[in-house]
Symmetry: C2
Subunit: 359 residues, 2 copies
DNA sequence: GCTTAGCACTCTTTCCCTCTGAGTGCCAAT
DNA sequence: ATTGGCACTCAGAGGGAAAGAGTGCTAAGC
């Protein structure tokens, strides 16, 4: 696909204008731009050619042009200019980043809410495991008569817990013994290394609390096998703020019937290329219900073999540049927060400019 | 408010029909019902009177009648008949109740999703603390150089954890000592009993890991003070399936801008009466944005000083009887699952009829 | 006295028609 | 290659008119 400079300029202008107005762009509007020095007739000719090439579309004969999916893709890959966040935007992003929660899962969910709010679009977050996990520590805590809480720490710093209720009663000492056995024999093993033999061995060594072993091992295995953390999807309703969905509630509903949490965790599989920022433009999505929907996603690092993804869902007509800039800002600062901080609730990178003190 | 039997019958019929059709109900439609034996003219007279009494409304002169909020309230309080779940419904509820997750928080969120799916309306769940919580057990686990995971078990069987990163390095032994000190001095204390003196005492006793103490105490305090668990709100988009929101995306959006998670946890404060099932009908809600929105909520027991609430959000024109029946079924079985079960993933009440084996 | 049939009236909804205006595509001129 | 000009197209807005549903009232009936 080879475009002249002028064609590129026109395509870029059309995308930019259409993204902000949601109305087809006519040749006159382009010709009127300050840095365009040819007449609307010329623009019309160029537009006709761009349409020929499949980069533009015409909703109907007497309307202006809108970018086709291929047009967006070209724009993203080659024309998009870095969007500079304004001071105001940076400021509100900074304020938003003052995460309150301290538990990992809640933090991820909070991040999703923030991103959604800041972009005014639906957003999601997921944590994904980069490398194989192993158990790092087991703990068994007496919670009541016949109730035990199993706490499991994984190598990726996640902590999982499960309440186990038993018909037989066990003593604190029993639990302590079993915990020791578990810590000695089940830590640092990958899911593949679990087997029946191991189960038997531990049950034998586990003493009075041996009945617990199968439950513990099942749970551990389940945790180890979990590739993706929970998907936190929020702000679905914000999609309705977009003109293309304003009067098409049905379509909006369909989008999220299709794009459920399962689908979201499988999105990475259909990505066209690799890199920290990813764009899925309209029909590049697998499902036909998403043909008018785009997803921008960005990865960020969370320490210890984990990786976070923030995604924003919107109409294909989306301000890719702005969204990317905002996501980038989040990703950068979150990465910093998760990795180098003593107290994750206060990103050092932001500590200075951040004087908004609620509560 | 005194109604004749016939008036009650008519009001009930209007609510029932309107709930299922979402169209104003005319006198003819009522007269055509099998168990109504008077003419449409009589119905018209009665309807005029019910309108006079404020139980019915007329969207415009030449339309049928719809129930007013007062009409719904009367219906709920006096006319509503128990809805018997059909075999099919029971079956799909049973299948749905096969909860997969085993962690408390995830379970609650999953329950919300199920309820939303089963009612085809937005739903939420919250866990609320019934009595004051105390810490029951502390655990400090080494997660890496300078990284420590604090695991805190509360008297209500919740397990909270926090990743703490420290600039100074501590040894396993240091942590063990500190954990012992924490368990000896901070357990069984209510939030009120925390104070600076205590902090100092523990810090002194905490040895090398003493720097951790303020962080630990802050976190503990935060956990103890948390009255409500997370609100899990899902299925918002399903509101769009309702005719009253189908072409009023803006209204739907407003609903969930108003009814956010904060608002939801405060709902119990505005309830008109007490009991396990609660109805908030349209304008009984505090916010004017919710004047056409109703909430049905039901409480259920979760062991150990905790109480769960499931809520369903819908238009004022809502099948209160059916929703109540479904929520009741959930509440009953969840209560059973949470309390009497060995393995919360399998409610014994359902174990028999439940042969749908996925995975 | 309650009930009912009949009828005029009201008001929304739907359909169709026209008109307007934006924008195109092409042609001839520069 | 670019531009001004012009005929053409088509979606969307506006405006009745007609249809249809349902009411309220009145007068007759049981």
């Amino acid at each position: 696909m080879e475009l002249t400079d002028r064609q590129k300029q026109i395509l870029r202008a059309i995308v930019d204008i259409y993204v902000s107005t949601a109305e087809p762009v006519g040749s006159k509007a382009i010709a009127a731009l300050p840095d365009v020095s040819c007449s609307s007739a010329t623009i019309r000719n160029e537009m006709a050619e761009l349409t020929q090439m499949g980069l533009l579309e015409q909703p109907h004969t007497s309307a202006g042009r809108i970018p086709s999916p291929a047009g967006y893709r070209f724009y993203i890959d080659e024309l998009m200019q870095d969007y500079r966040l304004s001071m105001d935007e940076t400021k509100s992003l900074n304020e938003a980043l003052e995460l309150k929660s301290q538990e990992f899962d809640k933090m991820m969910s909070q991040v999703g809410k923030l991103v959604s709010k800041m972009t005014d679009l639906p957003a999601y977050t997921v944590a994904t495991r980069r490398s194989e996990a192993v158990a790092k520590h087991f703990d068994l805590i007496m919670a009541g008569p016949g109730s035990i809480i199993l706490v499991l720490m994984l190598s990726d710093d996640q902590v999982k817990n499960k309440l186990i209720k038993l018909p037989v009663s066990v003593t604190e000492a029993d639990l302590k013994l079993l915990a020791a056995v578990l810590n000695a024999s089940l830590t640092d093993l990958t899911a593949e290394q679990f087997n029946g033999e191991l189960l038997e061995k531990i049950t034998r060594a586990g003493g009075a609390a041996g009945t617990l072993v199968p439950l513990v091992m099942d749970f551990t295995l389940e945790c180890l096998r979990q590739q993706h953390g929970d998907v936190h999807l929020t702000g679905q309703m914000r999609l309705l703020g977009q003109p293309e969905y304003r009067d098409a509630a049905e379509k909006a509903q369909e989008v999220f019937e299709t794009l459920d949490e399962d689908m979201i965790s499988n999105l990475p599989a259909v990505l066209p290329k690799d890199g920290p920022v990813q764009f899925l433009v309209g029909p590049e999505n697998v499902a036909k219900e998403l043909k008018d929907t785009s997803v921008v996603m960005m990865r960020f690092d969370i320490g210890e073999g984990m990786q976070g993804t923030i995604g924003v869902v919107g109409p294909t007509r989306m301000d890719y540049a702005k969204i990317t800039a905002k996501l980038g800002y989040f990703a950068e600062n979150l990465g910093r927060m998760f990795q180098k901080t003593e107290n994750p609730a206060m990103p050092p990178a932001l500590a200075e400019g951040n004087n908004s003190t609620k509560e």
